[in-house]
């Protein structure tokens, strides 16, 4: 059994509940249960990825032109931030198994900092989209065309003061069909928004775990809670691994 170290010598941790044969079966059921939840998450995001694939197939040229509005440098930075956080969670599980709560807390702390960093960078990206009227709501304007649920019309620049300001604010040339642009940005906000919501939930869960570890809560007897939360956080990283090339690095 090379590389297999006995981890739990704590009598509390070895407590086997009555419905299990032994501690191994008990631990396995935790992991399988968590994976069952993650599979539902794959289905949840999968529907959005499929919708993205259909519209990208249909309007690939427009998607390529509109994706230039996104900042691939900031997206890449966010990818790296999430990779670091994922690595730190893996290290936290490693230290939890070795029963080193201090190092475990440091790793979880770095993860939490990365999660906040990710949201911070995301806020910069989102706010510039809002500023350029690229959020798909009633004030959506792309390439001098106002696109709403009622249809598309040429933006009257002199009509509203906002129109003049808008023309000044837009730095990048806006190419492609404004309707498809709205579709692309709707998908962008829906998918990265849902992912961002998962990051927020992750922050709450990791924060709670850190407090419980720091307070030596009797509910945390072994590495299992850290591993379960780690699985969730790796999944969040996994979604971003696909979102990044699909939204920020579209080939022509």
């Amino acid at each position: 059994m090379g590389g297999h170290a006995p981890v739990t010598n704590d009598p509390d941790a070895d407590e086997v509940y009555f419905q299990y044969e032994d501690i191994d079966q008990q631990q396995e059921s935790y992991v399988v249960g968590m994976w069952a939840f993650l599979v539902t998450e794959v289905m949840f995001f999968g529907a959005l990825f499929l919708m993205y694939a259909i519209y990208r197939w249909k309007w690939h040229t427009d998607f390529y032109l509109v994706h230039k509005q996104l900042d691939w440098q900031l997206g890449g930075l966010n990818t790296f931030v999430l990779l670091i956080s994922s690595f730190c969670v893996a290290m936290a599980v490693h230290y939890a198994q070795l029963k080193k709560p201090k190092q475990q807390l440091i790793c979880l702390g770095i993860t939490l900092a990365c999660a906040f960093g990710f949201l911070g960078i995301k806020t910069i990206e989102y706010s510039s989209k809002f500023e350029h009227n690229l959020f798909p709501n009633h004030s959506f304007v792309y390439a001098d065309h106002k696109v709403t649920s009622y249809g598309m019309e040429k933006k009257d620049v002199t009509g509203r003061a906002a129109g003049v300001e808008h023309a000044k604010k837009v730095k990048k040339p806006q190419e492609g069909d404004p309707n498809r642009a709205r579709l692309f940005l709707s998908l962008y906000f829906a998918m990265t928004g849902l992912h961002g919501l998962h990051v927020v939930i992750g922050i709450l869960v990791i924060g709670t775990l850190m407090i419980m570890i720091a307070r030596k809560s009797p509910l945390i007897t072994d590495y299992v809670p850290t591993e379960m939360i780690g699985l969730y956080w790796h999944f969040v990283d996994l979604v971003w691994i696909f979102l990044y090339p699909l939204f920020y690095l579209i080939p022509k």
Binding site: E28, V32, W35, V39, V42, I54, W57, Q97, D237, L249
Partner: protein, 137 residues
């Protein structure tokens, strides 16, 4: 299988502790692949010698998605520990991603038939809403 599960008949709650060096190596590989995917996407614009890649849509898409799956595999197998997990865990993990891939069979419909316009949803009058909605003046 070399890395058989921790539930191998031993009692006492053994778990596979993934060595630190392996985690660091995985992190390095993930960072390298991230840089590779960015490089692959930008290389036709940075180097005029590779400008011909701009027209290789299928190749560029396959590279991007291939690298994404490679990174996903590293995260799932090492960071999430599926490589060292029990067979039942592997079944759940792999099942989820197999389902994800199967879902894209839907694309066959779009690959093999023309896009059929739905009355009221035609291009030019473009909107996702029916046309009989009262429009504000």
């Amino acid at each position: 299988m070399a890395h058989e599960s921790h539930s191998s008949g031993h009692s006492g709650g053994h778990a596979h502790v993934i060595p630190q060096s392996k985690l660091i190596a995985t992190m390095g590989a993930l960072t390298g692949l991230m840089l590779l995917t960015i490089f692959a996407a930008q290389v036709p614009y940075w180097f005029p010698a590779f400008a011909w890649l701009k027209d290789q849509h299928l190749l560029m898409n396959l590279i991007a998605i291939g690298i994404a799956f490679w990174k996903a595999w590293l995260v799932v197998s090492i960071f999430m520990g599926v490589k060292f997990a029990t067979k039942l865990t592997r079944l759940f993990a792999i099942g989820g991603f197999v389902w994800f891939t199967l879902m894209f069979i839907t694309m066959i419909d779009y690959f093999t038939r023309p896009w059929e316009p739905v009355k009221g949803w035609e291009a030019g009058n473009s909107s996702a809403l029916p046309r009989n909605v009262a429009r504000p003046e």
